[in-house]
Symmetry: C2
Subunit: 351 residues, 2 copies
């Protein structure tokens, strides 16, 4: 007998792609209609773009919240969705969607999680926030072995020449961490490579960087990577172009590319849904895509007059919830009730 | 030289009918686009239905506000609109709208206020909240003289037989006040007439009522008014039908009809706008009515999929604001900016 290494398939009525503000509010609106949801997000946390790009910047145009940071909005929406106990599958990217013979959708993630869902709601914002990489031939073959995109990834074997590319908190913090963790095994140099002198890191991190530079533990170099110097399957150096127009070779056997996140529509573009430019076409009554059972809400959809605003996504998620309920319960009348007055909604909310 | 008794006409770019949540957020969204607004409401306070019908009941489905009373939501939206200093004209009902030769709209209220506005936004909810009356022939001719619809209205001359119809806080409170204020001039009886034994008034008011009954200052009677006993132009009694099916005559020379508020579409139905049942037809891109320059947002409009939800009104007000800006500034590109990042919006918000 063999044990399958993939997780067991999860059966659900509703699967939401995207745990940003609109995805979280979609959980709430579906919950009010008695539909519980599974939520997948490629990021390791909920809150989407709001948390990834501007957790501490105030937003001023959420109705009733005159001033609210991305972090606060996320927390408030989590609290609001809590009565409906959504299951979150974080750090999962949806890779494929296929129609089963019983009309359900089979959805797979890059971590071998399979869902069989009766409805799919794409609330993926401007796409999956994936690490921005360098476009260099041969780089992708080295990923996970000698090339990394997360601060906490480490090579399996000793690295003598460690290079971090980038200039933000993440990049500078990683260079500092690597330099401080240098032991007998990882005693080699750490180089921080950035395309310009000005860093986007906090003053505190920049001060730490300077003292490690002074102590000879970090080299800070200006330049961009233009090629990989390989020895067989093994990376051993980087070709660097400096701002002055010179080029040289930098020894490197472990490379962290930490250039921030970039939204990528990714596999969604391959599912055969009707699109306009990079958005999914929907109607303004149901927010349904061209495929039965697949809905799209928030920044990823488009319709005449569309504005990419969080509050429009909230409205869309609400109307979509009614359309999803009607799709899941054909022939049944979906009651329209107010949360101020309905005992049924109070029961579902636990108030 | 004579002095005009009507107020001077007010010229504005935008006039909003309705100071409920959606009207308040309309002020905010127009303000972000550099458009300042005048606001008219028939109620003596802002907040519309939320404040008139459920100021202390929690609402659970405003995104980011897991639990929020109508009063709190109103306060939050007022705070949010504050940077744009709207002018409120409360206790005004709009009576007529006419097109001027320069395409502006001339709007009149029942208190002789005239507006000349370039755009009109109807955010009037389920209509104007007007006092519910009794449908009795001849009643309207007595209004303001012997028949009143507000607790603080009083007859000009001595009333010997004062009757209050109703059973809520407003009605019971008024009966108590009249009984307590009884002087030499108004020494007559006060009768509280209600159609059933159970009152909708607070326990405190009911206790006060009972002690005034015991002191012989208030009569509490069961019944409904079926006709008016007139002496020429003068009301002198009411025909009453009791729950037991009896009828009798009750002396009355001053009548307060305090049966709560009832939303009435009122004059809006006469402006020639395309309607479906009691709603104004709008598109989902601009939320424009059939008349150029007149927009409708919130519960008063309809379109395929429409749900009468506050949050849908917020979305509608936002898209309408862009459409209004485009209408007011033809040929100009209306920039789309985010409040998190735009210096122009920060300046307008005063942050």
């Amino acid at each position: 007998m063999t044990v399958a290494d993939a997780s067991l398939p999860i059966e659900t009525d509703a699967l939401i792609i995207g745990a940003g503000p609109v995805g979280l509010f979609q959980v709430f609106e579906l919950g009010l209609l008695g539909i519980s949801a599974q939520v997948v997000d490629v990021l390791p946390h909920v809150g989407g773009q709001c948390m990834a790009l501007y957790p501490d910047k105030p937003i001023y145009d959420i109705p009733g919240l005159p001033r609210c940071t991305g972090r606060e909005l996320t927390q408030r929406l989590q609290t609001q969705a809590k009565p409906f106990s959504p299951t979150f599958h974080l750090s999962h990217q949806v890779t494929s969607v296929a129609r089963l013979s019983d009309q359900r959708l089979q959805v797979q993630t890059n971590h071998s999680q399979t869902f069989m869902t009766r409805s799919l709601i794409i609330a993926a914002g401007v796409g999956a926030f994936l690490p921005r990489s360098l476009s260099l031939q041969g780089l992708s073959e080295l990923e996970g072995r000698q090339v990394f995109h997360h601060a906490d990834q480490r090579p399996a074997t000793v690295a003598q020449h460690r290079v971090v590319v980038g200039g933000d908190d993440d990049a500078v913090g990683t260079a500092i961490q690597l330099a401080q963790q240098a032991t007998g095994l990882d005693a080699g140099r750490v180089t921080l490579l950035h395309r310009r002198l000005a860093l986007d890191a906090s003053p505190d991190l920049q001060a730490q960087l300077q003292s490690l530079q002074a102590a000879g533990k970090i080299d800070f170099k200006l330049g961009q990577v233009t090629g990989l110097g390989m020895h067989g399957q093994h990376l051993q150096s980087l070709d660097i172009a400096t701002p002055e127009g010179l080029s040289h070779s930098l020894p490197c056997d472990a490379l962290w590319v930490l250039l921030g996140l970039s939204p990528q529509l990714g596999p969604i573009a391959q599912w055969g849904l009707a699109m306009s430019r990079k958005q999914l076409n929907v109607d303004t009554e149901r927010f349904a895509t061209s495929e039965p059972g697949i809905f799209a809400v928030g920044d990823i959809n488009t319709y005449p007059g569309k504005r990419k605003l969080i509050l429009s996504g909230f409205h869309e998620a609400t109307l979509a919830a009614y359309a999803i309920a009607a799709y899941l319960r054909p022939g049944e009348k979906i009651p329209f009730e107010y949360t101020t007055a309905s005992p049924r909604l109070h029961q579902r909310l636990g108030v």
